[in-house]
Symmetry: C2
Subunit: 141 residues, 2 copies
DNA sequence: TTTAGATTTAGAATTATTCTAATTATTGAC
DNA sequence: GTCAATAATTAGAATAATTCTAAATCTAAA
């Protein structure tokens, strides 16, 4: 995926700036965090670096960065999306008690993608696996 | 899970009606549908059977029925929840083009639950697997 | 330097869902 | 059946997450 110019083939070429200052800030915030921030948490942190940045720009930037493959979005249940600096395919575990969300990597998941594709007759694009359970801290309530 | 009386062990027992008329209507609507309705679609259909039912009651009923194990809730991305008459553990496939959502059953998923539990050290409760791809109708756009 | 198109901004709008307070229904006890 | 307690329903307000709008600003290319 190209991040800079886009050749239109005819007429004047379009301006397409790369990472703007605000997008850079949003990316930095996500990259700097140990855990997976919500848009609202990203907004709070970004404002500390750039006090004039707007909420809409944070949302737009998160979408842009996700589409550019520079971060990924995690959704679960009806909770707010969280953003992950990890962009390779991976799985998640979420604590049903405290909400803690961790990344994990199960090589077997990719096999299930093929099995799911066979069973559904869908042309596979991605697979999403989330374990729900009690995290180490919460299992000893 | 008991759906009727609850014995409190001391003092006066609590009133706890079983399936009320409106809950029955909501359950019927979900059971009657081939696909997976959103709360708003359930509300529309339920109103045809019981014109005075309120939006809040539909939400409350869906939650009640889910907790009672009579239907299940499907969430994906930031879209509205969908409700499924299928209550046993199963997986889903969702079309990235038209949004079609289908149930599927992969026996292997349960093994991944154990693997995920081992990798994360979470005490496993449930596992959620969703394939994203192109449905048969959309793969030939 | 000009200009087309992209980006940002503040704030309004939308959507899904939950909450509130008043009313109604149901249960179990008498 | 009547009564009191509790639960459920209702309409509408409130909340939360996200997207949209329209105007202002920036950027890159000509």
């Amino acid at each position: 995926m190209t991040l800079r110019k886009k050749d239109l083939g005819k007429g004047r070429s379009r301006a397409e700036p790369a990472l703007t200052r605000q997008r850079g800030v949003v990316l930095e915030v996500v990259r700097a965090s140990e855990h997976h921030l919500t848009a609202s948490e990203v907004y709070d942190a970004a404002r500390r670096l750039m006090p004039t940045i707007s909420q809409a720009t944070v949302y737009n930037s998160l979408r842009y960065l996700k589409d550019a493959g520079l971060l990924s979005e995690i959704t679960f249940g009806n909770a707010a999306s969280r953003y992950d600096r990890e962009t390779g395919r991976h799985d998640h575990a979420i604590c049903s008690s405290c909400g803690k969300l961790v990344d994990l990597d199960l090589p077997q998941t990719i096999e299930l993608m093929r099995a799911a594709s066979r069973a559904s007759h869908f042309k596979p694009e991605s697979i999403h696996l989330t374990l729900v359970g009690l995290c180490p801290d919460c299992r000893s309530d």
